[in-house]
């Protein structure tokens, strides 16, 4: 654990948003709580902060705030002291920050709770003595939904919101070091980039630090799978629970307490399995799969590169590839969600070709013998009766007879 050089001890984490583009997964779970590599996205952020000695956390919560509070509590379990600030209506990032005004310290770091950031990337910014923004080179065109930091003579000139791919500059990561003065500039402005541009126009100097370390935004479903892949690389192997004989467990695998792995399972890491699960017998789990708590995977099922949330039940003889299954969903036997190329409309990017399996919302009831085509999503609380091929998206609360 190291202390950062300029003594910032507080972070303000913006975690009030919904994350509509990730629907149906975000209908009852805020984006920051979506699990990647066995932990909510926000936990990755908090751990990166704590590793930099930043332990006093103000989390601005709103959409389904109770889930954040239930999970993180007072922060004790995460080595942090957490206070919660409520943003009743999610009007914008500056508005969110304003809610934290009363509890903010003299200097603090601002971050979004729904981006994956490494402790090294945060350290890069903390090395700066003045007000600063963390920027990142464009590597992935999918990231172009975000604003750009435009630099003139070594200092930030402005932070734009919408940009053309040809514009020069660094992507704005939304991570800033600021002091209390920023509250004087918010006024009725709702978005932070505009507030900061306003500060610069009025003569404040803001620098930009480029990081080459890990920072990613999570925007669309395929991002969840690719980021799960990335964070699983940092997994610490640990085998809790009961592991019966004749199991092959290779690579980095983490198994939570109270979990039972029955005989003849084949698990190849990186794989993260939560607490209180029952896996097998005869289950095959292939790399980059994360499974939440209290989940049952029945015999002869194969999982590959998938995200399975809490309280899920997947029946026997099923195949789940490149797919996401949200909490509380029950899937009976002979289920197939296979991977393939498909075109999908993605907001801001138009029709795009993606490669993935299915996305299934929370608390669905899927009966035996269902086959779901690549890229199809099933809305929350839907019910699908036995033996069918699902070719197109199903809205929330549907009953497919």
């Amino acid at each position: 654990m190291r202390k950062n050089s300029n003594n910032i001890g507080q972070a303000i984490i913006l975690a009030a948003g919904e994350g509509q583009r990730l629907s149906p997964l975000t209908a009852s779970c805020p984006k920051v709580m979506l699990p990647l590599g066995g932990k909510p996205i926000l936990q990755h952020v908090i751990e990166a902060l704590v590793q930099n000695g930043i332990r006093r956390l103000l989390i601005v919560v709103g959409y389904h705030r109770e889930q954040i509070q239930d999970y993180f509590g007072s922060g004790n379990d995460f080595g942090a002291e957490i206070r919660y600030v409520i943003q009743e209506r999610q009007l914008g990032t500056a508005h969110a920050l304003k809610q934290a005004q009363d509890l903010a310290e003299e200097r603090f770091i601002i971050l979004s709770g729904d981006n994956i950031v490494s402790s090294e990337a945060i350290r890069d910014l903390l090395d700066m003595d003045e007000l600063a923004v963390l920027g990142k080179k464009v590597i992935d065109k999918n990231m172009l939904g975000r604003g750009l930091v435009q630099i003139k003579e070594g200092k930030v000139h402005q932070i734009t919101e919408d940009i053309l791919p040809s514009t020069e500059g660094l992507i704005n990561t939304g991570i800033y070091v600021m002091d209390r003065e920023i509250f004087n500039y918010i006024g009725t402005e709702l978005d932070l980039p505009r507030v900061i541009t306003g500060m610069i126009e009025q003569g404040k100097i803001v620098s930009c630090r480029e990081t080459t370390n890990r920072w990613f935004d999570v925007i669309h479903h395929p991002d969840l799978l690719s980021l799960n892949n990335i964070v699983l690389q940092d997994l610490t192997a640990s085998l809790g629970g009961v592991i019966e004989t004749c199991n092959a467990i290779k690579g980095k695998v983490s198994i939570g307490k109270g979990t039972t792995i029955r005989a003849n399972c084949y698990i190849i890491g990186p794989v993260s399995i939560g607490d209180n699960c029952e896996i097998g017998p005869d289950v095959c789990i292939l790399p980059s799969t994360s499974i939440g708590n209290n989940t049952v995977i029945a015999p002869f099922t194969i999982l590959k590169n998938s995200l399975i949330f809490n309280n899920v039940n997947i029946g026997y003889n099923s195949t789940v590839e490149d797919s996401i299954i949200s909490s509380g969903t029950i899937i009976r036997g002979h289920f197939t969600a296979y991977s393939g190329r498909t075109t999908r409309y993605i907001e801001g990017l138009g029709q795009k070709e993606i490669e993935m399996g299915a996305v299934i919302g929370n608390d669905c009831m899927i009966e035996d013998g269902i086959n779901i085509r690549p890229g199809v999503s099933v809305g929350n609380c839907s019910s699908i009766k036995a033996v069918k091929i699902i070719n197109e998206n199903i809205p929330d609360g549907s009953i497919v007879i």
């Binding site: 705030r65 007072s74 029945a298």
Partner: protein
């Protein structure tokens, strides 16, 4: 029914005592007091909760002290009756939790000997009795005084210029928190968790001498060695994590509490649950509990009947204690959240003396009940601070289901179905919690009423009772629950436009009869709020408001309906601006009979 705390160590006692008293306020909070030795015994007492008068408490320096938070049993609530109580010369101070039954006789004889009493409490006889035998050896004097006391107590005694505290227990809880160069004495671990998680549980008839460095525990005048436990709870669990009230936080913790309670006990492959095996095939069951625990017992009665086809009887613990029930090959299951409920402890002792096998269901490891009952099942709900029981009730229910399934002689298939259903409970309960806002929006339909009725049939009748109890406890609205079948035998006379009725209408074999009752009520123009299955498309035309509950096997519907009614009671109390975590006249754990 009170909370006590003692500190001896290297730090200033004042802030430690006050902080610990705040932690103990769930045990009682109508008045409090502290005593600190700073050359003489300085005492401060006040009426109300600690936070209200914290600023007025003088900054007394001293490294040894005692404190008390009171829930009045003998004597009205005022400063004089608040503890600590002292002897005639202010040399000895005592805090006490429990009831001294023979205090009248003792007081008369002490008065006759010239002792000067100032309060109406039973406790005050203790310092005077100690004074009578005190010649510099406090340990001897306390031991001598205790010989004369009948009743229950956990006491902490301090004396002027004495470097140690004496604590003793008979029938009321007492623990010692250990740390380097400082020791704590308290009613329960919550009071000391801020400072240490190393705890020693004191048993009945033990006397402890606690100094900064040393702890000596005696029983029958012989020194005994006590084992130290490490408490897995963290202080975090005693904080609110962003919620306005502990109750709401605890409602939200219910999916986790359920998961923790069945963790390691159920399997999707092997349809066996090994909780506590049944003693003999022809035994019958008696379920005992008080308040919310009694409601859990009522659900248990239905369950054991339905699944195990056993003879099941049920009583509130206090009624069992005052009747002569015939017990023959009976297994007695006592349910108590705290493990300290006096009535249930007495009932289990009585059953055991009658030769019955006893099983306790409790949430608190090492609590008194675990020493009274032969078998113990722990609900692993975590610490519960809100006075209105929420997550511990759900965990109690689940433990009864686990017991029933492990007792029953069902076929393998049905048993496996039940187990699978049980595993999905956390997710289903979470779904109800997710509809919190919808439930809250119905609070207004009730919050302006003076009387509310709850009706249900079958297994959910107990949940109607529990829903009414929650509403009473925290919103102070008069609420009654009736079996819907009983309505026309009396209560219907009270129903009219100003008495809203909450009806639990699951999609089971009670449905059509519930609809009949609802129509009877509607004919008297009473507003109806129904808890109905989400697939129910017809209920809307008969009732004014509907809370939709996720589909679930009827046998498990009590879990979901309970959560909906907890949230309803909570938001009604919010509308009425009530003190939710500390309802007037109630305390978390009732250690007086």
């Amino acid at each position: 029914m009170c909370g006590i705390i003692g500190y001896v160590g290297y730090r200033d006692a004042r802030p430690i005592l006050l902080n610990s008293l705040k932690r103990l306020e769930y045990r009682g909070y109508d008045s409090f007091g502290i005593a600190i030795d700073n050359g003489h015994i300085a005492i401060f007492k006040d009426v109300g909760v600690v936070a209200n008068s914290e600023g007025e408490i003088p900054l007394v320096k001293g490294k040894i002290g005692i404190g008390h938070t009171r829930w009045a049993t003998h004597g009205v609530v005022n400063k004089i009756n608040a503890h600590p109580h002292t002897d005639c010369h202010n040399r000895i101070a005592v805090v006490h939790n429990g009831v001294i039954e023979n205090f009248q006789q003792l007081k008369e004889s002490l008065l006759a000997e010239g002792h000067n009493f100032v309060s109406d409490t039973d406790t005050e006889v203790i310092p005077h009795l100690i004074e009578k035998y005190y010649t510099g050896d406090l340990e001897y004097a306390v031991g001598k005084a205790l010989e004369y006391l009948t009743g229950t107590y956990a006491i902490i005694v301090m004396a002027k210029d004495c470097p140690y505290l004496i604590a003793a227990r008979r029938g009321s809880p007492l623990i010692i928190g250990r740390d380097d160069k400082q020791n704590f004495i308290a009613s329960d671990v919550t009071a000391v968790l801020d400072y240490t998680n190393r705890v020693i549980y004191i048993d009945d008839n033990e006397i402890c001498r606690v100094s900064q460095e040393e702890l000596k525990v005696c029983r029958n005048k012989k020194v005994i060695i006590k084992e130290e436990s490490t408490i897995p709870w963290t202080v975090e669990e005693t904080q609110k994590s962003g919620y306005a009230h502990f109750m709401l936080k605890e409602i939200h913790e219910q999916p986790k509490a359920l998961e923790n309670t069945f963790r390691g006990l159920i399997s999707s492959i092997e349809p066996e649950i090994n909780v506590i095996s049944r003693q003999s095939k022809d035994s019958d069951i008696l379920l005992l509990g008080c308040g919310t625990s009694y409601h859990a017992a009522l659900v248990g009665e239905y369950l054991f009947n339905k699944l195990c086809h056993m003879v099941v009887r049920i009583k509130t613990s206090s009624e069992f204690n005052s009747c002569n029930m015939a017990l023959n090959k009976t297994e007695v299951i006592g349910i108590t959240q705290s493990g300290e409920t006096a009535d249930t402890l007495a009932a289990l002792k009585k059953a055991r003396n009658l030769g019955c096998r006893t099983i306790a269901i409790t949430n608190v490891p090492e609590s008194s009940v675990t020493r009274v009952a032969e078998n113990v099942f722990y609900t692993r709900a975590g610490i519960e601070i809100g006075v209105a029981a929420t997550k511990t009730f759900l965990a109690q229910l689940l433990s009864l289901y686990l017991l029933a399934v492990s007792y029953d002689s069902l076929d393998v298939r049905t048993r496996q179905d039940l187990i699978n259903e049980m595993r999905m409970l956390p997710a289903k309960v979470q779904q109800v919690i997710n509809s919190e806002r919808a439930i809250a929006s119905h609070a207004q339909s009730i919050s302006n009423s003076d009387n509310v009725f709850f009706i249900a049939r079958g297994i959910n009748f107990a949940i109607a009772l529990e829903g009414a109890l929650k509403l009473k406890e925290i919103s102070y609205i008069h609420a009654e629950a009736y079996s819907a079948g009983e309505l026309k035998h009396g209560p219907l006379a009270l129903i009219g436009p100003k008495t809203p009725v909450v009806a639990i209408v699951p999609q089971d074999d009670t449905y059509s009869m519930m609809l009949t009752s609802i129509k009877e009520i509607k004919a008297r123009n009473a507003p109806i709020l129904a808890l109905a299955d989400e697939s129910d498309r017809t209920i809307g035309q008969f009732v004014d408001h509907t809370i939709y509950i996720p589909q679930i096997d009827t046998l498990f519907s009590p879990f979901l309906n309970t959560v909906a009614l907890q949230l309803l009671a909570y938001y009604v109390a919010i509308e009425r601006n009530c003190s939710i975590d500390r309802p007037v006249n109630l305390a978390k754990c009732v250690t007086v009979p």
